[in-house]
Amino acid sequence: MIILISVGGLSKTFTLHTQGGAEIGVFDDISLEVRAGECICLHGPSGAGKSTLLRSLYANYKPDAGHIIVQHGDESIDLVNAEPWEVVEVRRRTIGYVSQFLRVIPRVATIDIVTEPATTIGIPADEAHAKAKALLARLNIPKRLWSLAPATFSGGEQQRVNIARGFMVDYPVLLLDEPTASLDAANRQSVVELIKEAKARGAAIVGIFHDEEVREAVADRLFKVAQSSVRKSRRNITAVEPVA
Amino acid sequence: METDLAFDDDDVYSFAYLDEMTKRMIRRAILKAVAVPGYQVPFGSREMPLPPGWGTGGLQVTASLLGRDDRLKVIDQGADDTTNAVSIRRFFAEVSGVATTERTGEATIIQTRHRIPERALTEDQIIVFQQPQPEPLRRFITEEAVARKIHAFARYGVMYVRLYEDISRLGHIAMSSDYPVVVNGRYLASPSPIPKFDNPKLHRSRALALFGAGRERRIHAIPPFTEVKSLDFADYPFTVQRFEACCSACGAQDSYLDEILLDDGGRRAFVCSDTAYCAERRGERTES
């Protein structure tokens, strides 16, 4: 199988200058490979650095050391050392990211928010619109809400809008940060199906799934993230073990 | 020029009122203005025995040009017999003793306010315009430094705004006098408050045209045979006024007409604004 993400020696420490320069080591010397069509679940206690790792994979956080090599079209790009415009390009075409919270321009209609990632890479507006509508329908967002801005939506609705946005483009790599956290059973099932379809088309998926049922349904492997010591003295022990 | 320097002991004034050094200064400004067509050349405007705004700029230009052999014609709104024209003509007759005329063809220097004679001028003539405001951008640009930069970089978009606004509000370009022109394809200039009817006469005119603004202390020139383009749009070309009537005195159909009220009942008639032109035409008719 093709390796789409290859992480090696990745370390991350936060230095909080506003709090007396405290250093918080998050993880140290992480290595991870994700292949096309597989879904890896980041696992570990709260605060272990799962979200930090996921955000690092999206180049949202800047790791201190190591590499994150992503297959972008015909090229391999190291996100740790990539130019900003390269990262933008990778995010536009290769890596999709569903965050826990929807962060968009206020007063923009839901349908336009969902459509945007597709039109940005040049997919015709009508085609993008059709797909956005189909996704919103699958995620049970009532039709009457499509033309409204999501600011007043419930937490679950906002999250589903966020998911729709993340699945608009058939990204080769998908990063999912607790996509089902505030969803009911029916909607969880819709998301599970979307993830399974993405796997079937060969997407490499890395996610944080707290819901055991979802995890069982989609994850092929668990990747344990353990907190490193504050001073980065101790090498992380990370292990990959098959699910069940 | 020797004759210019002649000083009559009996006379309390220099020839043509201004002292010789002042006239030299003004002539230098005129030469510069001729060398850079349409460019406003600053000059040291003097006090004249007329209030500023009554033609002191034109007066100073004329004074610095006059020689003993010149023949001066002065018109105001086209007429030789209005108060201003008569006063200025008398003034120069008094302080220089040069001959004066009302006939356009006989004059060597014509000082004018608000008109260009109907009869085509020749290369032997100079026409001097009295100009209250030489800066066509002044209505939009109050800062002189900014206006100068606009001229320097020839970025005249703001002037076209005026035309644009006219068309969008009124359907046509409404400016009917002091209609701005581009001289020699370079400088935007004001032709002084002449009706736009007269603008085409400036284009490739055989006579030298000088514009003097006394209060604003600027002189600009349109040398003979210079391209003068009135501002317009490709789809709203420059046009001049058309008169449906003809002159009720001489029957002219090609001249700029003044409307006069004949009685309290509102009866009106049109006559040539150029009195000399009208008189000459009437004379020709009687002769023939």
């Binding site: 955000r55 949202n60 390009e89 | 644009y164 969008s168």
Partner: protein, 259 residues
């Protein structure tokens, strides 16, 4: 990977001092077509001075401002003033925080859009009018207001009109100084969305100066943080805001009120 777009602006070691106060110290960056660069920092950090140096308004003491022209790259401060005045108006547009600084309030909305086009040589009323209408529509101002004076427009409409005026000449580079500054929050959002759409549609390169972190996040692809005339941190907007490294950036980000 090949750069997806042409470099439009490159600033090399730009410095400007007012008296003894350094406003910009050795600032360098580059900007590509379609990219939005945000410059954040508190008042007095030098971001507005930097923008004015880029717009040809303030001459830097040192350094270069290289701007792409049709077929080559020009250093705007190495040109003579006349060439610069010829080059910049059709290449770069400056959008002021206060629309009153960028508009003529006593001429119609249409006239405001048409003016820079006429300055660039537009001499056909019909097409000027058509372009003005097209731009009014783009910035969500109804066409029937084309002959209204911007004096009677709301602040948000004035700002949108200023943007239309600035973009109608198809500049490659747009420089914005706090474009949402004087607007109330509800109008800001709409304007931000409009700006994002225009940037994408027109493929222009934008430098936007703001002290509003929220505006920077929504508008800018990349961010430069300035403090006392220096660039202290730069990178992708979300990187800088979500994982700030410099003490000042951390302070700036942590000072934002969360709604």
């Amino acid at each position: 990977m090949k750069p997806r777009a042409r470099e439009i602006l490159r600033v090399e070691r730009l410095s400007k001092t007012f008296g003894r106060v350094p406003a910009c110290s050795t600032v360098s960056f580059s900007l590509r077509q379609g990219e939005v660069l945000g410059i954040v920092g508190e008042s007095g950090s030098g971001k507005s001075t930097l923008l004015r140096c880029l717009a040809g308004r303030i001459q830097p003491d040192e350094g270069k401002v290289l701007v792409a022209s049709d077929d080559h790259v020009v250093d705007i401060w190495a040109m003579d003033e006349a060439s610069r005045e010829q080059f910049l108006p059709t290449t770069a547009s400056l959008i002021h925080q206060n629309p009153r600084d960028g508009l003529r309030l006593d001429i119609s909305a249409g006239g405001n859009i048409a003016e820079p086009l006429m300055a660039a040589g537009g001499r056909h009323y019909g097409s000027l009018r058509a372009t003005a209408l097209e731009w009014l529509e783009k910035v969500d101002i109804e066409g029937w207001r084309i002959d209204d004076l911007p004096e009677i427009f709301s602040g948000g409409m004035q700002q949108r009109l200023q943007i239309a005026r600035g973009l109608a000449t198809h500049p490659r580079l747009v420089l914005m100084d706090e474009p949402t500054g004087g607007l109330d929050v509800s109008v800001q959002a709409k304007l931000l969305d409009l700006l994002r759409g225009l940037v994408r549609e027109l493929g222009i390169a934008v430098v936007v100066v703001t002290h509003d972190i929220g505006v920077a996040r929504l508008l800018a692809d990349r961010l430069m943080v300035m403090q006392r005339g220096r660039v202290i941190e730069e990178g992708l907007t979300d990187q800088v805001l979500d994982d700030p490294h410099h003490p000042y950036t951390q302070l700036l980000v942590s000072s934002v009120l969360q709604v």
